[in-house]
Amino acid sequence: MSTVTAPAPARPATKTSLSFAHLLRSEWIKFWTVRSAAWSLSIFFVVTVALIALMSLAVVSSGPNDGPPGPDDVLAPYTVAAQLGQVALVVLAALAITGEYTTGMIRSSLTAAPRRTPVIWAKFIVLAVVFFVVAIVANALGALLQQLFFSDDLPLDLGDPQILRALFGTALYTTTIALLSFALGALVRHSAAAIATVLGALLVLPLLFQIPWKPLQEMQPFLPGIAGSNITQTDAQVEAGWETFPPGVAHLTAWEGYAVLAAYLVVVLVAALVRLKKSDA
């Protein structure tokens, strides 16, 4: 720390200004320059690909149940992989914003972009794109392995729009859940609180709502995890799921379910943006 150089030489005026495209670039740099990004994405990737392969193996070796393997059997590994893999993205998404609050970085970010809300939007877009791409690639690689080893028992018909939608929907679901975690992190500004809330809503609430009490049962299809995961299934699977609900409970189609999840995201995100805009940083 002993270097002392002469103060700034006069610089030729360059065209510098704040813009949303520049903010996207900044958030892109921020995302990749902390270790948690590479770690979490690797964990998500490995868990997803490995679980698809392992679950496919489990499905095949558990022997033929009552008939030829149907879409249930082919898609089941993807759903299981998504349920576990999403934890890594939930953590990463929350840290992407809470890390700025716990370290004080947010004040540097808001000094550079004093209108504030564009910072959150830029981060949101970077996360959405990265998560969706990584989820698609991980699921595609899992599908490749599945078809390489188990195509006889679990044929994946990519010509079937229902199957395609379910696979695409799995990546969309994982991404949206992670973005919900990001929005919650932006709202509560505390890593543990945001992560615990999202994981609680996904893993604990569904158990709680199985208590046979009418109001709870009626709300069950609207839980973010349950509603949102409709998009990871074929229409036939969604309809079969309705049969397991008690009578009188709402039936959400795949896209209706996803819309419910998206509504949660919008509500939390708007609350976070309002808090950011109104309060002192």
Binding site: S2, T5, G99, A112
Partner: protein, 318 residues
């Protein structure tokens, strides 16, 4: 140029900044001096739009900070050391900030070199010392080559060589016609660095003027006289406007008379003088006088006061 008009910040029942108005002119270093909790940081945060004023307004070059199309080239700020993600390297932190304004990596490397961070630029900020964090904060402030610089306690945690560097840097930046506004609770540092002072205490502005003027206003000049005939001399000096205090046997402190008058009086009474020293006030003394009623946190335990071993006005002027 920074202009505040009736700037006020309240937190619940507590008023941190109470309707202050001031102007920070370009081309000179303006010091923002005050005890801890006086409202310095809150004021600076309001300038940068991080805190919303409860009342009043503040503008930089005529507009609120948030309204600039290119905020970082307009104002560079160091508001607190380590407003930095601890997991990112210093260089990547600066690159991310620079990217918001499409500032080139070349400029990033330039400010790294300028602030003496080259050797540690690739290290994660979490391991930085306070001084290195402070240098990184200054590097961020310089990134956009801004017309206005706002530095909150910039020399905090810096080694003497770093302090000297900051002092020269801010003077140089001001000499280029930029507006430089820096806060400190260190009076000696201010005396050496600033051209103009705004003194704040408990959210009020207590003084606003050139450094020399503030020192003159807050201090009274005294003359120290040492003489074996101190008592007789004291008697000879008695006049309504003159106060003589006996510090110890043979040592007087005279207020209200010049050294010449005292010397003449001693000669007239044929009294021997061993010492005749005019003592100018120090900024520290001025500051104590000015902020006497405005300190937020006071240590009530009596501390034995000795002669203030601080800078005299002549040293200040240097």
């Amino acid at each position: 140029m920074i202009e505040a008009q009736g700037l006020t910040k309240r937190y619940g029942a507590k008023t941190a900044v109470d309707g202050i108005s001031f102007t920070v002119q370009p081309g000179k270093v303006t010091g923002f001096l005050g005890p801890n909790g006086a409202g310095k940081s809150t004021t600076m945060r309001m300038i940068m739009g991080l805190d919303k004023p409860s009342a009043g307004s503040v503008t930089v070059n005529g507009a609120p900070y948030a309204s600039f199309r290119s905020p970082l080239t307009e104002v560079g700020a160091l508001l607190e050391a380590k407003a930095v993600h601890t997991g990112r390297s210093a260089r990547n932190h600066l690159r991310a900030l620079a990217a918001t304004h499409a500032i080139s990596d070349k400029r990033v490397d330039e400010v790294i070199e300028m602030t003496g961070l080259t050797a540690v630029a690739k290290r994660r900020v979490g391991g930085f010392s306070l001084g290195m964090g402070q240098r990184l904060g200054i590097a961020s402030a310089l990134l956009g080559d801004p017309r206005t610089l706002i530095l909150d306690e910039p020399v905090n945690g810096l080694d003497p060589e770093g302090v000297l560097w900051v002092r020269n840097l801010v003077k140089y930046l001001a000499s280029e016609g930029r507006t430089v506004f820096l806060s400190s609770h260190l009076m000696t540092e201010m005396a050496l660095t600033a051209d103009h002072l705004i003194v704040i205490g408990r959210g009020h502005i207590i003084a606003d003027g050139p450094v020399d003027e503030i020192i003159a206003r807050g201090t009274k000049s005294t003359v120290r006289v040492r003489s074996p005939h101190a008592d007789q001399l004291a008697a000879a000096l008695v006049r309504p406007e003159v106060t003589v205090t006996t510090k110890e046997a043979g040592l007087l402190e005279v207020f209200g008379a010049t050294a010449e008058q005292i010397g003449d009086a001693a000669a007239a009474a044929r009294l021997t003088l061993h010492e005749l020293t005019p003592i100018s006030g120090s900024l520290e003394e001025a500051y104590m006088t000015l902020t006497a009623d405005e300190v937020e946190y006071r240590s009530d335990s009596p501390i034995p006061t000795t002669e203030p071993a601080t800078l005299t006005k002549t040293e200040v002027a240097r």
